[in-house]
Symmetry: C2
Subunit: 220 residues, 2 copies
Amino acid sequence: MSIRQSLLAILDQGPCYGYQLRTEFDRRTGGTWPLNVGQIYQTLDRLERDDLIAKGEADAEGRAYYEITDAGHASVASWLASPVDRQSATRDEFAIKLAIASTLPGVDVAQVLQVQRMSTLALLRDLTRTKQAIDEPTTPEDLAYLLIVDGQIFRLDGELRWLDHTEGLLARAAAAAVKPLPLSTETPKRGRPFRDRAADEASGSERADASRAEAVVLRP
Amino acid sequence: MSIRQSLLAILDQGPCYGYQLRTEFDRRTGGTWPLNVGQIYQTLDRLERDDLIAKGEADAEGRAYYEITDAGHASVASWLASPVDRQSATRDEFAIKLAIASTLPGVDVAQVLQVQRMSTLALLRDLTRTKQAIDEPTTPEDLAYLLIVDGQIFRLDGELRWLDHTEGLLARAAAAAVKPLPLSTETPKRGRPFRDRAADEASGSERADASRAEAVVLRP
DNA sequence: ACAGCCATGTAACTTGTTACATGATTTT
DNA sequence: AAAATCATGTAACAAGTTACATGGCTGT
């Protein structure tokens, strides 16, 4: 989603052709996420289909310029004015993995943590080295690139803290004899579930499973 | 990718049918990422196609059990033993957005930062409240759920620090008169690029763009 | 009878990735 | 002539999301 919006935002500055958009995107992100050229033409097709851009005529050298529409301009403004959704969008691969692993019998979760820590540390070291080369950016390219490197560094730093914290947590849980989760043996009952109104009112909205899902997912 | 691996890991504990996998996944992740049922059957189809699981016979109630194969077992072991790829996989939406926004003329980047901060803060507040309810987990379900909540909290905390840091950085950059990036006006030259051997040797591998991409992307 | 869960599945769709095909242009 | 870049595109595929169809079972 962000690539689509990024390309549209660049087109908001003026007409571009496909190949040019790749260059512009790479300049502005320091080549951190190299864009495949083919993907750009696909994205342009979809943007055109959604009437956010319009394809102009090709110039003498055969370059096909795309121009942003009013709807496209509005879309860019809206994108810049609204926050990135951290709710549904952010499904952290390692968080899922760790949660699942912690419930599996016969899995050394401490080892899983350690493997991830080593990998994260190595990446963080490289990023820190990279950062030193452009710590005082003078060009807008370097500035944009520094933002991204900083973002990665802060994120990895947070992950490392989480890993440390989790290690302690799991040690305490093991001490408290929290066991892994076997497959549920009870086959669920079919049919409309039994509703005990008295019990419902007594516990109110305090039921663990209900309050938990709502608190995190936060559906408005 | 993580959903696929998670389901396979659960199947590594014993045969399950589709609907059951949804329940098991939700138990183990606290319902943070609600899995669509249809998606599970699709994933099972692909796992079977890749010979990681095998479909057994349906039982009397019409439940179709899947069983993990040797290859599937090996895949789970390999998954648990290797780190999650933070290189290519992690393309942070907001990092891209911020980098692009910082290069666009006429965009109030401080405002973009502020909007994101408000959103992140609100989420963090909710998560902190959620965490208090299960700070001393006694069941494996609560433990797994706490891991995920903690992970989100640490990540959002890191993001907030990054936002604060970035605000200062952008203020300094503005003071140093780092301007936004207009579209490149020079049309690139076609054909095989000119290679100045003398210049190449002089600068060596120190060229900014080259070293930067390698340092971050780290292709082995 | 009907609501609501259990259970399986299909169809259409989106974003994104990889690989490939094609031709023009220009330097070696 | 060969190599490398500029430039446009297509095809196949993976993973995920949403919506829908179908039937069985059971409590109200």
